[in-house]
Amino acid sequence: MPHHLAKANSQPRWLFPFVVSFVALLCVLPLARLVAAGISTLFSGRALDLLEEPAVWSAAVNTLTTSFFGMVAAVAIGGLFALALTLADVRGKWLLSFLFMLPTMIPPQVQALAWVGMSGPSSPLLKALGIAPPMGSPQPLYSVAGIALLYGVQHAPLVYLALRAGLLALPRDGIEAAKLAGASPWRVLKDIILPLSLPGIIAGAAIAFVSGVGNFGIPAILGLPAQIYTLPTLIYSRLASFGGNTFGDIAVLSAMIGLMAVAGLQIQERALRGRDYRVIGLSGASATFRLGRWRAPLEAFLWLLLFIMLIAPFFALVSASLVPAYGVVLSLKTASLSAYEEILFRQTVTRTAFANSLFLAGTTAFGLLVIGVLAGYTLTRGTSRWTGLLSAMIEIPYALPGIVISVAFVLVFAAPLPVLGVTIYGTIWIILAAYFASFLAVGLKPVVSALRQLDPALEEAARLSGASFYRRLFDIIVPLIAPAAGVSVILVFLISCNELTVSALLWSAGTQTLGVAIYNLDDSGSYDLASALSVLVVLMVVVLMLLLELMAARLPKGVVPWRN
């Protein structure tokens, strides 16, 4: 039966073409269309002019520095939580890790405002302590360092999630062997745990870095007062003065961001190259460290961090939702629930927005899980020379500010689709497509790093048992990378649940998302309503997480990230 013969590739023939065409359709095509729109600019002298503007370069430098230091901060905070909550005998793990998911859910601009409020002249906390700076004193957060710090806070949970799955797959006996070799816990961490979880750390760092590159809310609030522009805020201000060059300009600026993302990817590949993380004879047992007298201080520190990152901004949000107008001091007298009443019972848009966002976030999360597993499999097991290019193509859309993605999607999808003759523009499907493109990188990263750690023998054993590609995917691979898959779903869900800038241009009547609804309320001066809606979103996420908790017993082990 010579026709049975195939290359020794472990994947079905359609897989690579499928992944390539998915990426081509959703990631490459829109960006190519954007470049085409700006092509006249690119080839006229305008592009050069743009590159000669010092403002562009300083924005590029700001983007790089803020994202880099933001990544460092996120890796430090997220890494600390991941290590403490997966490997150490910290008490209250469940609650700590449960709460640690939530800072991502607080919209970046809200987070930034809360921090400004917390540390500025009007800070209730500082006022109570009597150390509030006088009105008009300079705000230390209005700086590159401030932006980086908030990136760190905002993206630490992403690092935590990406790293956690890798830590769970660490071989227990490898850690034991190092201990017995005489290595102190600190050395074990440095020599064994960190290097072995490098794929997870790098995945988390990359997500944090790229999230910083594309972030708009934080530099808009913290950077602009100090005239610190990053590429997204620069793009935004270019859009504000819309002219004939705008598409060309944003194409050029996007290309710069794309280059940064690709450079980041290169560094990442370099860091991982030539190493092997396959855990031989995966045991499934995980290790723990006894902290002894360090436990109490560490716990206190974790709770303090959590307070600053989550509880303080969340209270700022809650109090903003309870006062009738901005600047009114919250007291029993001034507090009212009218904003909630308005949001819940009078504004019909709220319900639509909840429904839309839940649909979008859920579909994106699970859709990208499927695609992420397939693409991750291709990228890690595949032998094609094109995998490097493919992962770059996947990376770029996430790094671009949402507004660029949405412009690109409008450009491609505003006209009816060829052949079919229908247009998805103006429907919810275009938002979904844009989410798929934007968040593929987020969904993919944890899965790829988990696949890297997997002992190939486990899959081989399944193949020899006669399991076809689909069988072993469902029976072996997915359950084995379940923690990473869970992380991928939760990350994408959280990010797309309060996503703003992608849907901002793509929504139309009836397809508002929560992010759009909050932004529009905020933008039109209804801060109380915007805050109330944000609080409701956070509560909704908490409820969803609790539902997940109830189902946890029926899910594969490790899927629910706050359970051990």
Binding site: D173, G174, A177, A183, P195, D276
Partner: protein
């Protein structure tokens, strides 16, 4: 270096059946203990408690005067100065072979020329000089095991724990490695505990042999002693290839039985009589001459000789060796030159 004392050691993983149950054992300073026992009897668990990876559910472990583990707490593994070959090797996949082997040295602050010399030395002993820069994933099973061995022997530990360290090596390497252990033991004076399924290995290496079964310690003695004078059916069945015959007791007072004693009881057994267990090893079953008639029911070629299973007239089975080939069904005469009452 000092005496290693296990005192009423217990370990229950919470599965209902304790994995280790009330094990008390003194291993003298610089002793070489072989731990034998069927698969799943708790050998690895004992080693893991000695190394400090598992906390005993009960009992204590002492190294000389120093309490390593008891109800009040445990000394962490990194402070015990022990070394171990893991049954699963536990190599670090992100390090090269040389880095794996050198890691315990690095931790001890040894570097430069001395580090390199020691690593090269250790790799030479396990015949892996040429593989220093490989990653564990690119090695064969036996090569991985040898890396684990080199890593274990590269420092000067007080206690060396070996969990089936030679299971994946061929006979030649095995003999070489045994030699290495013996040398290492003599040179360093470390206390060694050696888990193995290969009895010849255990007997050849150890100064003491301990036999476990189902979490309990059955007997500890020197190799010659335990081979010659096993206590109880379990140990008797486990050590050597012998079969256990149930014979009428009938006033036997010695434990060493001779052909006459056995013959008398073999031919005239009555049910209801008090009985005793007698261990008969195959090398004590001699074919030919005028013994009892038996039928060959199984012949296995072992290279050097044939291992036979024989059936006596009354259905009892015996094992024997033969230098020449036999055919199944052949009838032979057997004499049992020695038996040991368990």
């Amino acid at each position: 270096m000092a005496k290693l004392i296990l005192h009423k050691l217990c370990k229950d993983y919470g599965t209902g059946r304790p994995a280790v149950n009330d094990v008390s054992l003194d291993i003298r300073e610089g002793g070489f203990l072989a731990l034998l026992g069927p698969s799943g009897c708790g050998k690895t668990t004992v080693l893991r408690m000695i190394a400090g990876f598992e906390t005993p559910s009960d009992g204590s472990i002492l190294l000389g005067e120093r309490v390593l583990a008891d109800a009040s707490g445990v000394v962490p593994p990194e402070k015990r100065n022990m070394a171990m070959v893991f049954q699963s090797y536990a190599l670090w996949p992100h390090m090269t072979v040389a880095a794996n082997v050198g890691y315990p040295l690095k931790v001890r602050g040894i570097s430069g020329e001395r580090y390199r010399a020691k690593v090269t030395d250790a790799l030479k002993t396990v015949r892996l000089e040429a593989y220093a820069e490989r990653r564990p994933a690119d090695l064969s099973g036996g090569q991985r095991q040898r890396v684990a061995l080199a890593r274990c022997l590269v420092t000067a530990p007080d206690v060396v724990l070996l969990d089936e360290p030679l299971a994946n090596l061929d006979r030649h390497l095995r003999q070489e490695m045994e030699e290495t252990f013996r040398e290492f033991h003599a040179r360093s004076g470390a206390t060694m505990i050696y888990v193995t399924h290969d009895q010849a290995e255990a007997m050849a290496l150890a100064t003491d042999v301990a036999v476990m079964s189902e979490g309990r310690l059955l007997q500890v003695a020197s190799p010659a002693e335990i081979y010659a004078r096993p206590e109880g059916r379990l140990v008797g069945g486990l050590i050597g290839q012998g079969v256990v015959l149930t014979l009428a007791e009938r006033g036997a007072d010695r434990r060493d039985l001779e052909w006459n004693d056995i013959l008398a009881r073999l031919i005239s057994g009555q049910s209801g009589e008090p009985s005793m267990d007698v261990l008969v090893r195959p090398q004590d079953v001699v074919l030919g001459g005028d013994g009892l008639p038996a039928e060959v029911v199984g012949v296995l070629f072992e290279g050097e000789r044939y291992a036979l299973r024989l059936k006596l007239g009354d259905g009892r089975l015996l094992r024997a060796y033969s230098r020449t080939a036999c055919i199944e069904g052949e009838r032979v005469a057997v004499t049992i030159t020695a038996g040991w009452r368990l």
